[in-house]
């Protein structure tokens, strides 16, 4: 092992429980032991995933959040006796790894409940909600400290919890912790005075207008959280360690408005000064560990940082509040293990909390221990598989039902949390397979086929692997994307997969006789709109990003036709890193209004455009493109905009080669335009059956 990682592999204590190393797997929704939002049960998929993490060497595993009362079915978590009976032998097996496991118990979502359209309809209508309440009580699920607006749905207001409801919940926290301890669980983590969840809504003055013992002073606003730890100690024992998921700062400017990492702003939520006092109150109440980051659902990119956020974005704040308490503290949020090791060695931090890396590479800890860190598949912070709650102006949570039921999967690693569906089964009939196209779809197909025992050969028309992902990863802040490409290239070499560069295949007949099967992974080409006069003058993303025109001194004002993710990312790079003047023209009513893109990612881009004062024209289009100008048609009229270029951001269309047949398959964007998840998962769906 590289010595720089050694501090990560030293033990530490939470209360009386010794954790074998400093690596904490942060809780991720969906990776639960008792099911996600469905009726609680012992979840075999979650159990398998969590056990594998412990076997890999994670010191403390925190399964996904477990609401103390089932959202579906509304049973209290402590009422399912059969579940705890199954848990006991599982914990015996788990402890053979040497790792520790704390169950994360949640006090609910409050106004952050990511309601879908049907849930919002129930929540807005008292009668419908009452009728549905034996199965799902949306008004209860969204109940909060006070009447506050829902983060996701317009015209949906949380109702305040009654004191009786709060105290009932507090008691059940204790009762559940007692059962968990009896089943062999090492501790619990309370979720959460963090990220704007229910307990955080009680803690934040601007979200809590109560006049009873749960509102007003900081002590009162933290009373819900402090009563929970006391109830747990009363019922499960004083020595049962209780961790708290905690946001040091809210980084929130107002309802649905987050702050950029470099922005000076007036804090709407909890600021650093209040946090200094809060952590002392929480420690004195009995919490033994603080698992920290920043943010709320209104500033979601702090708690779930996309690639646009800097590495270790919460570290300085977490280390600051650590000075005010004696209990150990972990930091989460794009944590770099090397930086974390340095901070632990220096005594400024106790543990590093890492979440998504555990989804994308199930052996990352082992690879560090064995000095093989170059083999770790990097997380690209896309949230496409693990956390794709999405929202645009006027919508509720647009996530599909299938995704709602299965958080905690991975765009780049399909077997994560679906190990029975996606697995490498060695073939009994090895085949020679031609793969046309060396983009991500082609490379992933080659790896799956090779691991199964086939003999794939990649035909790449250029001299470089990566396809359109070379363009997507060219932006300044896309270091993770670049690292992923490096990883793919290394993996192809490691598996000795043949790549024929500068070989374009336009006619499948020429290679049909030499191969048993063909996979077409030829990607897509930019969509064209010839009805716009002068459209041929537009620049495409490859010219702008990969070919480096973004850095051209003569390119100062650029108009993006289309306000999707690619346009907004390029515009952000342009304004933030190159100090240029992007303008966005979008036909719809919001930027990045895609169903599959997480609100943490899209809200950053929307907030960034606002902060950097990027002109955004919604419900608008371009009617003409000329030399040095374009005509922009808005609802208020058409005007001439001088510009150095217009970028074609209206999307892509599939560009397959040849016809499909029993032995000719298609993978990636040449099937339908999607994202890396659709590309990688389809590569597995197809290559597992060849």
């Amino acid at each position: 092992m590289n010595p720089k990682y050694e501090p990560l592999f030293t033990p530490f204590k939470i209360g009386e429980v010794e954790i074998p190393n400093r690596i904490v797997q942060c809780s991720m929704g969906g990776t639960t032991l008792f099911g996600w939002l469905e009726p609680s049960h012992f979840d075999l998929e979650g159990a398998d995933f969590l056990l594998k993490r412990a076997k890999d060497g994670v010191g403390l595993v925190l399964p996904g959040m477990q609401v103390i009362r089932d959202t579906m079915g509304r049973k209290w978590l402590d009422s399912n006796r059969q579940m705890y009976r199954v848990l006991k032998p599982y914990m015996d097996e788990y402890h053979k790894t040497g790792g520790k496991l704390f169950i994360q118990l949640a006090g609910g979502f409050g106004r952050s409940m990511a309601v879908t359209p049907w849930m919002a309809a129930l929540g807005r209508n008292d009668l419908l909600n009452k009728l549905a309440s034996p199965i799902v009580d949306v008004q209860y699920a969204c109940a909060s400290a006070s009447a506050t607006p829902n983060r996701w749905a317009d015209n949906l207001t949380s109702r305040p919890f009654t004191v009786e409801e709060i105290q009932e919940m507090v008691w059940h926290f204790g009762a559940t912790a007692k059962k968990l301890r009896e089943a062999g669980v090492d501790g619990v983590e309370i979720h959460a005075v963090h990220e704007g969840y229910n307990l955080d809504q009680f803690a934040i003055a601007n979200m809590n207008f109560r006049t009873d013992q749960y509102g007003g002073s900081l002590e009162n606003r933290l009373r819900f959280a402090t009563e929970i730890v006391q109830s747990i100690h009363e019922q499960a024992g004083d020595d049962f360690p209780v961790s708290l998921r905690y946001s040091v700062r809210s980084c929130t400017k107002g309802w649905r408005k987050g702050a950029m990492p470099y922005e000076e702003f007036e804090e709407f939520g909890r600021d650093l000064a209040e946090s200094e006092k809060a952590v002392k109150i929480l420690q004195d109440a009995g919490y033994a560990f603080l698992n920290c980051d920043n943010g709320t659902y209104d500033a979601w990119y702090w708690a779930h940082p996309p690639q646009y956020m800097p590495d270790n974005c919460n570290l300085a704040d977490v280390e600051h509040i650590r000075k005010f308490i004696d209990i150990p503290v972990a930091c989460a949020g794009r944590m770099d293990p090397v930086k974390a090791a340095e901070e632990i060695a220096a005594g400024r931090l106790d543990a590093v909390a890492i979440a998504r890396q555990n989804l994308v590479d199930e052996h990352w800890v082992t690879k560090i221990k064995e000095g093989r860190e170059d083999e770790i598949r990097p997380c690209i912070r896309c949230h496409n598989g693990c956390f794709n709650f999405s929202k645009a102006a006027g919508t509720e949570n647009m996530q599909s039902l299938g995704d709602s039921l299965h958080l905690g999967r991975c765009a780049l690693n399909p077997p994560t949390m679906q190990h029975n569906r996606y697995k490498i089964v060695p073939t009994k009939n090895p085949k020679k397979v031609a793969i046309i196209g060396g983009g991500v779809g082609g490379m992933e197909s080659a790896l799956v086929l090779k691991k199964r025992g086939h003999n794939p050969v990649i035909f790449e028309k250029t001299g470089e692997l990566g396809g359109l992902f070379l363009t997507a990863s060219a932006m300044t802040f896309k270091e993770n994307d670049k690292d992923l490409l490096r990883w793919y290239k290394d993996e192809l070499k490691r598996y000795n997969i043949e790549v024929r560069f500068n070989t374009e295949v336009n006619d499948l007949g020429t290679i049909r006789r030499q191969f048993d099967d063909i996979i077409v992974a030829t990607g897509s080409v930019p969509r064209s709109m010839p009805q716009i006069k002068g459209f041929e003058k537009t620049m495409n993303f490859t010219e702008l990003l990969k070919d480096g025109k973004i850095a051209d001194e003569n390119l100062k004002t650029v108009v993006f036709l289309g306000g999707g993710q690619s346009s907004c990312e390029a515009a952000y790079d342009m304004v933030y890193n190159f100090k240029k003047n992007p303008i966005i023209v979008e036909y719809g009513n919001d930027l990045v209004a895609a169903q599959a893109t997480c609100l943490a990612n899209t809200s950053f881009l929307r907030d960034a455009m606002e902060y950097h004062k990027v002109p955004v024209y919604l419900h608008s289009t371009i009617t003409e493109i000329g030399d040095g100008y374009c005509m922009i048609k808005t609802p208020d009229g058409t005007f001439k905009q001088e510009c150095d270029a217009v970028v074609n951001g209206i999307g892509f269309v599939p560009a397959p080669v040849g016809e499909k047949s029993a032995h000719v398959h298609r993978v990636g964007d040449c099937v339908a335009i999607g994202n890396l998840r659709t590309v990688v998962w389809r590569a597995w769906d197809v290559c597992m059956r060849i």
């Binding site: 079915g73 006796r81 299965h406 089964v425 099937v671 059956r689």
Partner: protein, 69 residues
């Protein structure tokens, strides 16, 4: 009585058949054959629906199991 016995026999046979069919399609060889017969697009679409249906069917099952002593 005879009618009821017939119905019961039918249900047992149907249940048994469904169980065996379910077990059969979980085999990789059978999945591969279905993939070839249906074509990749249809196979993947049906597979997604089957998994979703399975998830939803588990809700009432889990709910009832939680009530067991």
């Amino acid at each position: 009585m005879k009618k009821a016995a017939k119905k019961l026999l039918f249900l047992v046979c149907f249940g048994g058949f469904a169980y065996l069919a379910g077990k059969l399609v979980q085999k990789d060889e059978v999945k591969q054959k279905l993939f070839q017969l249906m074509g990749e697009d249809a196979y993947i679409a049906v597979q997604d629906k089957v998994y979703l249906l399975g998830d939803l069917l588990m809700w009432p099952v889990d709910f009832v199991r939680a009530l067991l002593p």
